[in-house]
């Protein structure tokens, strides 16, 4: 009985997904034309008749935000996982990151609005790509950082110990072993951060503004700004899909409903494609195990990256609980590499841990 109840609720919960996407798709069909998708709003006779400016704007905004956020987030993750000593400062850093990831986006949005758009208008140009992407970067930093930490934490100890045993320094080990081994997880984290930036609306509305025009590349004189010039598109307004959807809601008496749904559908597609890309990366890099299984596909990845010497300890450690479709293949490859390693290092690498 309980099984049936749980099953029913699980089915309903997942049907909701198809219901929402389906309804929006059906509502969007009349507007999903090449003209609508490939025309910037500035080139259309009425408002809300084209969304190319918003599509391009969303991609540029999210890319820039990811570019700002990724170095800091990855650096922080590596520090916390490999360099930090357990102490007051480390605990404080972790606490602040958790606080940041729990902060509602509207709070980050209003901070960006006041500081970047209002106080620093001379530098950022007010509502602009720069303001928007810095605010978004603050928002997605904890997302990338958390995923990167998880990825680094799953790297086998034996791999790194092997590297140290070869006399590599900490930085050489991190660069040559840890980062390549954690690469699928790191890229997934970055892609997830990109997706989080693309779907965010409150922050974008308060910091990036909206324009009907496509982003353009230019430098024009502008007396109000620093150095008297305005750099396009960095200091210029930028449109975004979430704002285009919100526009359709705000001006629903002017813009046909199907246009709003079409913008929403395109936004869903963009975000779903990003999420699927993240899944694909993690599945390519890791095995398709459930839950917490140790990603033994990583070793394969490492051998692809030609740090083959350190493959051996991980393969030699017989971890029977790990389910891995590539296991046999890997073992073969590992043995081959081991043999190669033996030749090279004259038998010093024969013993497993």
């Amino acid at each position: 009985m309980m099984k049936g109840l749980c099953f029913g609720i699980a089915i309903v919960a997942s049907l909701v997904l198809f219901l929402i996407i389906g309804t929006i798709f059906i509502g969007a069909i009349p507007s999903l034309t090449p003209y609508f998708l490939l025309t910037p709003e500035s080139a259309t006779p009425k408002i809300g008749m084209g969304i190319l400016n918003a599509i391009v704007g969303t991609i540029i905004l999210s890319l820039t935000a990811t570019l700002f956020a990724t170095p800091v987030a990855l650096g922080t993750a590596i520090h916390l996982q490999r360099y930090a000593h357990q102490g007051r400062i480390t605990r404080a850093v972790r606490f602040f990151i958790e606080i940041l990831s729990g902060t509602p986006s509207i709070v980050i949005g209003m901070f960006g609005f006041l500081v970047f758009v209002y106080y620093m208008k001379a530098v950022t140009g007010g509502y602009s790509l720069l303001s928007g992407s810095v605010a978004l970067a603050i928002l997605i930093m904890p997302v990338i950082e958390r995923a990167a930490e998880d990825a680094i934490a799953t790297v086998h100890k034996e791999l790194e110990e092997g590297s140290y045993a070869l006399g590599a320094t900490k930085w050489q080990t991190i660069r040559g072993v840890t980062i390549p081994a954690a690469l699928p997880g790191l890229s997934t984290g970055t892609i997830l951060g990109f997706g989080r930036a693309a779907e965010e609306s409150a922050v974008v509305i308060l910091t990036a503004g909206y324009t009907q025009y496509m982003p353009e590349l230019a430098i024009k004189s502008h007396p109000g700004l620093l150095f008297g010039v305005k750099i396009y598109p960095v200091q210029d307004l930028v449109a975004s899909l979430p704002y285009a959807v919100y526009h359709a809601y705000e001006n629903s008496n002017v813009i046909p409903l199907s246009n709003g749904f079409a913008a929403a559908f395109v936004l869903i597609c963009v975000v779903l494609v990003i999420n699927l890309a993240a899944r694909t990366v993690i599945h390519l890099g890791m095995n398709r195990g459930k839950g917490f299984s140790i990603p033994c596909g990583l070793t394969r990845h490492i051998s692809m990256l030609r740090v083959d010497r350190v493959v051996e300890p991980a393969v030699a450690s017989q971890d029977d609980t790990v389910s891995c479709p590539f296991r046999e293949l890997e073992q073969e490859e590992g043995e081959r590499l081991m043999a190669k390693g033996k030749e090279k290092t004259q038998g010093k690498w024969g013993q497993g841990p």
Binding site: G27, F96, E98, G102, M110, K170, E199, S201, A264
Partner: protein, 302 residues
Amino acid sequence: MNLRDGPRIAFLASALAMALSVILIFGFIAWTAAPVLVKEGFGFITGNVWDYETHTYGILVFISGTLILTAVTMVIACPAGILTAIYLAEWAPDKIEHILRPAIELLVGIPSVVFGIFGFFVLRGYFAHDINPAISAAFGWIPIFHDNHSVGTGLSILLASVILAVMVLPTIVALSQVAIRSVPREFREASLALGANRWETIRHVVLPAAFPGIVTSVVLGMMRAAGETMAVVMLIGNLPVVPGSILDPAYTMTSKILNDIGYYLIETEPRSALFAIALVLFAIEAGMVALVRAVASRMGGS
């Protein structure tokens, strides 16, 4: 210090930069909010009049809106989320799980503004003409189910919390499922060996063991619900009264900020008042983070 310390210092610097930016953000928000908080004192939280003309700022209306909305959302989302997680973790055959789990996790990827227009243009009509009147007719004798606005627009706490429940569902399902899966198999086998059936095992053994993880997932869902802006601003009706029933419109802290910040940013006092709302909202979320940490540390640091 020499050249070999370079990477270590770079990583330390980025960690410190991240921590400092958080301190900076919240220091700045607190500093901006201070004048109104000092002026209003405790009355900022207990007062229910918000008027820019008379310089009175009390946010009881908005706090109650946020808290009631979050509570109703969790009442809808918790049973659905936890039962789904139990099904996926305990009963689902691999085939079904491979279909259901990605479908539910992909719900995370739907942007909140899309939920907003879906609720506004699609669900609102049903709530205005069918669901709200039906609930009011059937349970109207209980005050919290009574429709106080007989010519309803459909915009109500119920509509907003149904949409919010769908938004937080994936969080609860994914994290609860991990918690349930991480209960050791021996626990289950011991219980089954004692003659308990599957459901008895789940209720008396698995759920108590997974309880801290499930609480964490619920609290994270609550944080998302309390901090959500776009969908709420479209669906809650933005009526600044303390709601008497779940069929009433209300006004939340997040929607107050979004609706007003554009008009009042350049005036010092209203700006300070709006940032004070953000500070209170932030305090609520920080309290929830502390709760998650407390629960997680009781789990044994995992």
